[in-house]
């Protein structure tokens, strides 16, 4: 990935505060990217090498930004399926980058805020956002028919992916829920 390129298709973007919300219409996932992750996402356009992205972070955030920080961000974005042709680093590799960066900057609060964060949730089916009644209007005129399935089983009511190891992905093409967390499918990247 000499010139990393972020995905641009089937995504909705919304800036809010320092964060960027990215809604993946293909996978029905919503991500929030903190400032570091958002800067890399915006500037990884296939024309900039990692060194160039380091320079972006140094200019926009802090001079302590380095290649480890950029690779961490690229890794988080790749795991969230927000990069084209992503090299998906292992969690061990990400942790190693994180350790090196933290060691470099020390555990100074403000500087650890530079660490890239990508938090992901599955956009709920309509039924999952209801109380007491799993039925949305299922008439064919409504346009929300596909949203009104009973959806995931009762084990998957909690769809927040704040805990990587408990991430449960509700397959949009079926009514079954499968535990999606594995060694190479960790979406949230706050570890």
């Amino acid at each position: 990935m000499a010139y990393p390129r972020a995905r641009t298709t089937d995504l909705l973007l919304q800036s809010t505060g320092d964060d960027l919300i990215v809604f993946d219409q293909q996978r029905q996932l919503a991500h929030t990217l903190n400032r570091t992750a958002a800067l890399i996402f915006k500037h990884a356009d296939g024309t900039r090498a990692v060194a160039d992205l380091v320079a972006v972070l140094q200019a926009e955030l802090n001079e302590v930004a380095d290649e480890d920080l950029v690779r961490m961000a690229l890794g988080r974005l790749g795991r969230a399926d927000l990069m084209e042709h992503a090299e998906t680093p292992s969690m061990d590799a990400l942790r190693a980058s994180r350790r090196r960066f933290v060691r470099k900057v020390g555990m100074v609060g403000a500087l650890t805020l530079l660490l890239p964060m990508v938090e992901t949730i599955v956009a709920p089916r309509t039924a999952l956002a209801q109380s007491g009644d799993p039925t949305c209007a299922s008439d064919s005129d409504s346009g929300c028919e596909s949203q009104c399935l009973t959806g995931c089983n009762s084990d998957s009511q909690s769809l927040s992916a704040t805990q990587c190891d408990q991430f449960c992905f509700c397959n949009s093409n079926s009514n079954s829920a499968s535990n999606f967390c594995g060694s190479d499918s960790v979406f949230c990247a706050s570890a």
Binding site: L13, T16, D18, T32, P124, T135, S138, S160
Partner: protein
């Protein structure tokens, strides 16, 4: 619609062909809903059970139409089948149960079909001019907390849906609070019976608190970034998938003014005291 008592409804046997004998149409936040019945005398019982802010409509226009048909000619125990489009919601159940199911489903239908408003599954109250949203799924304890906040002086907006407009302001959806007792029985209590008042005007959101009830939990909420706050709202949004673009835009506006927090909470009365302290301190 001469009678409001379902038990008095003229009964008829179920036949395959639905023959409309009575109809009720209403609109609510832009959602247009119709209810057709194959007997007269049933629908009046629904008039005071429609979603809050519903307006009865004379025009037979709806984006979502229910069919209620009586299915059993037992005078002591009228039964019914309720369907929506091609989907049967309940089949041959006691009429009272069928009507309860319909009332519940009407709220869902409104939340799905609302036009120009986004429904988020959240309790909502107003405290000193700004709205406090408490997003959460079923049984998250929203009503309990909303009730305690109202009893502490907050203005009631909803125990079920935060209705957001395009500017990120919350509108009232002041249905009677669905208060669950220890046995799990739900009673519907108008806010006035709690000594509270319902809001009438749209209000900007000042606070978004994603709280999860846990017995004995210590109150230690942590602040969320604007993006994280938006995600907490999105994961409780009724039409998150089909209206994702609206949701992102609206939540972006909400988070321009709102502080977002999350954490565990214990009992409602203790939580309210701590929560109001947080609000008074400005976060």
């Amino acid at each position: 619609m001469p009678s409001s008592n379902p038990a008095d409804a003229p009964l008829k046997m179920h036949t395959d062909a639905f023959v409309e004998a009575d109809a009720l149409y209403f609109s609510c936040y832009g959602a247009q809903v119709g209810i057709l019945a194959d007997a007269v005398g049933v629908l009046p019982a629904l008039l005071d059970r429609l979603p809050p802010h519903a307006t009865i409509s004379d025009a037979p226009v709806s984006s979502c139409t229910y069919q209620l048909r009586l299915t059993e000619a037992t005078p002591d125990s009228p039964h019914c089948t309720l369907s929506l489009g091609n989907t049967t919601l309940v089949d041959n159940v006691p009429l009272t149960e069928g009507l309860n199911r319909l009332v519940s489903s009407l709220q869902v239908a409104v939340s799905c079909h609302a036009q120009n408003y986004l429904f988020v599954h959240a309790g909502a109250v107003v405290w000193k001019g700004t709205a406090l949203l408490l997003p959460g799924l079923s049984h998250a304890g929203k009503t309990t907390l909303v009730k305690a906040l109202v009893e502490a002086g907050a203005t009631y907006y909803s125990d079920e849906f935060a209705v957001l407009d395009d500017n990120g302001r919350v509108h009232p959806y002041a249905r009677p609070l669905a208060v669950r007792d220890e046995a799990g029985q739900v009673t519907h209590q108008p806010v006035e019976t709690l000594g509270g008042v319902a809001g009438t005007k749209p209000v900007p959101v000042g606070w978004m608190l994603a709280l999860q009830y846990e017995r004995g939990a210590v109150w230690e909420p942590t602040p969320l970034s604007a993006g994280q706050g938006a995600l907490r709202l999105l994961e409780n949004t009724v039409m998150a998938r089909t209206r994702s673009e609206d949701a992102l835009r609206i939540f972006g506006r909400v988070m321009e003014t709102a502080q977002a927090w999350q954490g565990k909470r214990g009992e409602a009365t203790q939580t309210v005291a701590a929560l109001l302290h947080l609000l008074e301190a400005g976060g």
